[in-house]
Amino acid sequence: MKILWFAWLRTRVGTAAEEVTPPADVDTVATLLDWLATRSPGHAEALAQRTVVRVAVNQAYAKPDQPVRSGDEIAIFPPVTGG
């Protein structure tokens, strides 16, 4: 599973992309975020405030209960500020 981090979440985590293999019971966006938060203090800090965290699964916005599986591209980022 490929995890992409953007903007200040990337700065906190310290990497733009990482390949992860979560345990089998990590099968939704919400459980994935919980699991990622345990990987390092930077991850924990980045994911501390879930209301400002947006997730895309395979380049489409996803809700907390959306399933995730091995091979997915999961992007995690703050609210967008383009335009």
Binding site: A7, A56, Q59, T81, G82
Partner: protein
């Protein structure tokens, strides 16, 4: 319908002419250009626009498709830059062409409002205190929300 995400600047006149080239069924084009604004002493520098290649194009195309579903449009265009930008630089161009001006105005306004809350771009501004990620504005959410209730 056309979407472009690019580092380079764009020529608004050429872009709009391209929309109407060889067509005589278009009566109105409304366009919006967003520029890097210098907020004075508090923010005297430029910015760097990060984005999510791949998803950006998909989201912009989805915003454009939604506009065509809501209004009778002859053509639309979104061009969005990324990378390093200085004060006064153009950031984004949205345009909607229609037989009638009301549809062109509403659709163009919709394109920029939706884009602002959906397209994965993030602004990193230079400030006298160093670089700072711009926070999302409640205003922008409200502006996008207004189109939900009108659906």
């Amino acid at each position: 319908m056309a979407i472009r995400v690019q580092r380079e600047d764009f020529d608004v006149g050429a872009e709009l002419s391209g929309l109407t080239e060889g067509r005589t069924d278009i009566g109105a084009i409304t366009s919006f250009v967003g520029l890097v604004r210098d907020f004075g002493a508090a923010n005297a520098g430029g910015m760097t626009l990060e984005h999510y290649p791949g998803m950006t194009e998909k989201e912009l195309a989805a915003v454009e498709r939604e506009a065509h579903a809501r209004w009778k449009l002859s053509a639309t265009l979104i061009v969005h830059r990324f990378g390093r930008l200085e004060p006064g630089d153009r950031i984004v161009l949205c345009a909607a062409a229609s037989p009638h001006r009301e549809a062109a105005f509403e659709a163009c306004h919709f394109l920029i409002d939706w884009l602002k809350t959906r397209a994965p771009f993030w602004k990193l501004e230079d400030t006298p205190q160093g670089q700072k990620w711009v926070e999302a504005r409640a205003d922008d959410d409200a502006a996008a929300q207004k189109w939900e209730t009108r659906r």
